[in-house]
Point group: D3
Chain length 250, copies 6
């Protein structure tokens, strides 16, 4: 199966980090095709950047999604995710959403460990938006600024591990989610020093996308997830204009 893997920020180096973990996670026969947002911020960690990224994600999907079996929105906070589900006929999965669902199945309480405080706020709001914050045991963030976000794993891996361990010891978390695209793949390395399942959004999303493709739900023909009727637009990219003004879903 073919999965379109969309990085909602503009930084190819982060796309690479995340796509590498997606590849490591993919089942045999799953093809991962990375894509990077055309406009927006270097990385996404607040509501302003998330609002811009929501548009950028739709643009990437409108242009690229044809021929894929599912798409992944790969920024913790899932910018534009529900809009993307409405836009496309294939399943679309967010990295936060996927991690939250696995967390619900693996324990009764989960905590979020985030690269930055602003990301923490957004990630918690994302859990609320998904209706999956009821089992949140806590949320933690690094306080020191990260010099080079693309090298976060080397620079702050130890600090992240300490927060994961505190999530278990102090928040009584039974599952921990390591949030933040630049941390993709780090959970694999830290897992053995954390006594509960430590989830990675990217890996979670790959496994969930594979499951959804096998489930093969039909596109909704009723309700708010059905394709909206065509409508005139202005100032959008050619692909998004086509998608909204009357082209078939991807």
């Amino acid at each position: 199966m073919r999965l379109l893997f969309v990085n909602p920020n503009i930084t190819p180096a982060i796309t690479e980090i995340m796509a590498a973990e997606a590849l490591r996670s993919a089942a045999p026969g799953t093809e991962i095709v990375p894509a990077t947002a055309r406009f927006g911020p270097l990385y996404i960690a607040n509501r302003i950047e998330a609002a811009i990224a929501g548009h950028a994600v739709l643009e990437v999907l409108a242009e690229r999604a044809a021929g894929f079996d599912a798409a992944i929105v790969a920024a913790f906070g899932d910018p534009g995710l529900h809009a993307a589900k409405e836009l496309l006929d294939i399943p679309v999965v967010g990295v936060s959403e996927a991690a939250f669902h696995f967390a619900y199945m693996l324990g009764k309480r989960y905590s979020l460990v985030c690269l930055t405080e602003r990301l923490r706020v957004w990630a918690v709001e994302c859990a609320e938006e998904h209706g999956l914050s009821g089992r949140l045991a806590g949320s933690r963030a690094l306080t020191a600024p990260i010099a080079d976000i693309t090298r976060a794993q080397e620079q702050v891996g130890g600090l992240l591990l300490a927060e994961c361990q505190k999530a278990v010891a102090e928040d009584r978390a039974e599952v921990v989610i390591l949030a933040g695209g630049p941390a993709a793949g780090l959970a694999r390395k830290l897992q053995e020093r954390v006594p509960v399942p430590l989830l990675d959004g990217v890996r979670s999303a790959v496994h969930m996308a594979e499951a959804l493709v096998r489930l093969s739900p039909p596109p909704a023909r009723a309700g708010s997830m059905a394709r909206p009727a065509p409508k005139p637009t202005q100032g959008l990219s050619a692909a998004l204009t086509r998608a909204l003004e009357g082209e078939a879903k991807g």
Copy 2:
């Protein structure tokens, strides 16, 4: 005081309808300056369009907000509202948000009456996002398509009135909110035939913006509403680029 009144869709005729109601509502000494989104759909009624509008609102605000005392985001569903609050140093009010707050003060249960079913879904999600859906008595929408959205008041005014009356009789609503930008001003006309307060988002937002300007809260210097640190971007409008890469808030 000066209020920037932003229509998140691209249709000047809807801007005019809404700005007219804003003017009728404004206190003496309040100046209303309308603005229309540069890109996006003809009007906004689903999550796809809301996601695009969130970006469009930020762009308008980045370009125009300097010198204003407050800004109003004038599409029911409040696209980009929380991002806008983060972006600017002046109060920003959404038409939904303002109506919800007045509804809470005027009764124990409120209902939404919406121009379309897709708008209804979005409006309910907006109430949830604001943490103000706990008193929602119901939500109703017209089922027939609206031939010309800019003339909705003439075409479907009677149908909307009937839904407002049913909201009181069947949902036991104690306040009714008439949702949808093209319906701005209609509540004034229908009020006498509805036995509970009938709220208009635009009028609510003008009164609330005036109140917030008088309250004159300082810009947040801590927490998730504080101005984010500057960060590189790509592909954004000149004004939004300046706002995000380091200019002072509006």
Copy 3:
């Protein structure tokens, strides 16, 4: 416009402190007329006193509200507020209610800082009763008794400031509400040392009452906010007897 400003406790010195802040806050053209409860406790800080004050507020309103455009119930905890809304045809606003609504618009989480522990409990219950406790980040109270409640600002201003700062640093509050009538006006002075909006109930209520008067909702003719049918009573003040046994609303 004319606002009736009701102090639900019996202490004129507290009425003066609060009315002074109301006057400082009022827009040009807004007249503030203070009134003090005829019976009850020196100040209100628990459910017993609140229950008595609920009756006292209705009595003051029944006697005085005629000719006013709106009324304000000025004790944190809003004693008798919903009863008052049912009794009168003009808008009635509580100081807690108004502060909660502004808090919702200015940040995602708010904290309460209260003069006493008993007031803290009541204020939190008040937020719950208004359906506005979902975003409560925390609630704090001074632990030391206050020698002279009418001079609370001089005596414990510094302690209150410290709690406000802790609300931001420890509770992650994005808005802080300074609760307690005797503290009216203090937020103005402490604001510059608190990095998020610091709200005063009295000031919030004045701005909200002005907004509601401009919104000019009609009295409810259906639902639980409509004037109840006349009914015999016994042992009430002359004005309240008239109001309940068949006089027109104020």
Copy 4:
């Protein structure tokens, strides 16, 4: 044991109806002493009347509670109940509260059947205030006015039965509570025609008060249920003045 049975409204005929059911329900050895409010409305069915009754209940209790083992507040909606719990050292039970708790133990969903629509609204708010509305399956009220509230059982018993049956058939209620003081004792007669437990507030409160007396909890010496410190008052009855200005709890 001795139970003080307080009717919060001023109508002795309703006190009699309720006290008769209390007596029928009481265990051998339980003495029921009825008391009627000194001021307030003929009966209580809205927030205005409830606010007045809250004060009236405290006055009766301050005057009469000495020497009793527990007190019952006998108006559906429990006016002044939490204030009364704070005021007294003996257990105080509300008729609504008691019925709600038994409903929770006897089924997963309960419905309220109320004498009037205004009472229905208040009763639902009472369930919310007790934190016991989560299992509310529905709430129903008679729509026709009741000519003589003291003869409600004869006049509208059939209508109430029909609503109880609809609560089971349409709301899927597994327990039904018959709300309204004047209906006290009616549940006994209607039970055989209702296929689920049909609860009476007065009877529920008597059984619960007996249980609480046997449980014999000590008066709280910490928290918001502990006796407040003495405080000056003005304009209250002699007994309530003594209770608040420094006398020992009842």
Copy 5:
């Protein structure tokens, strides 16, 4: 009246400790008949043991409940309680459930103090299942293992007292529940050193069962608490087979 008192674990020594407290609590004329599960663990402190105990409780009840006025399920966590309510025509009360309901009536916030951490988790889930976790102020557990669970009171009584006091001082609990069958009766001894009501599940259940017997609700003939239609089974005890394949309820 006769109460069947079921210990869901297999340890007669714990049955004795609990039954002794039940006897101390019982009103004159109440007969307590203890019974012990035939299969399962030594004591119950996690979901595995609770699942087994749910079956064991049903087996005991099917065999023994005939002729009793009510039954008590005496393990904190209430294993099999709702199934038991469905199975029998007499009231069935759980020790947790009874304590939660009294806690709601005696204060606004309650805390749980548990013998072990696993029990704490289960007890909190039990409160959630009953819809009574909304007022949970906190939950605490001893961290040290208990050498001999049947002598827990002597061994860890002091530690439990310290946790009860911390529940008041740190969690602001207004009621404390001492959870865990082997602690039955200890609350009586510790009460005077805890400044708020300290509840014992066994004692609470006895008082509540007595109240329910006096309330004498009829068996449900509709809804999910009504006796299910007979159905073939396999491998169950003779009594449970009879109960499920068509015998009348107990």
Copy 6:
């Protein structure tokens, strides 16, 4: 990978129906090994039967789970599921749980369509227990008894389809879950006549189990999902005795 597929009821014919759908759903390389409970009812549709089945599931798992990569509990309502997760070191998935999670990802509101009314009640409680009832749009059940539960698909397939369609039209469900083991596989056939995704619990569980095996979370070594310490038991099957008294997890 190898999945142990446990039917919690005793009826091999239902095991066959469900296992057939599991096989149809399994990815290449996934082996499905069915198992049937040794004791309990013919099928499970109320809390009594669920309580018994919880024990029966643990017994099957204790005996059979060694050597499997994951286990599936295949009765709608997930009897014993959380106990099973605690018992085993491999992932355990419930058919309800899996369907709920996919429903959350595919739409904003889902409805349950159930074979019987009692099953409907249990299924809703199951959604609540999983913390996944917040998006429940409705729940529906057939009212007529089913003559032969093992031939439910032929007998009541049309009635189930009608309820699915009403769930969309009347409840505004955006996803429908067809609940009840004997209906396994029916969703495949009815999907084309339902305009939103129609989910089958068995199929959902197979896809989710495959995803969890690929995610390969380590067994919890902390928190309530960690293996409990060994403890004496009595009267349990040899395998369950070994599992609880000290054998390694499966």
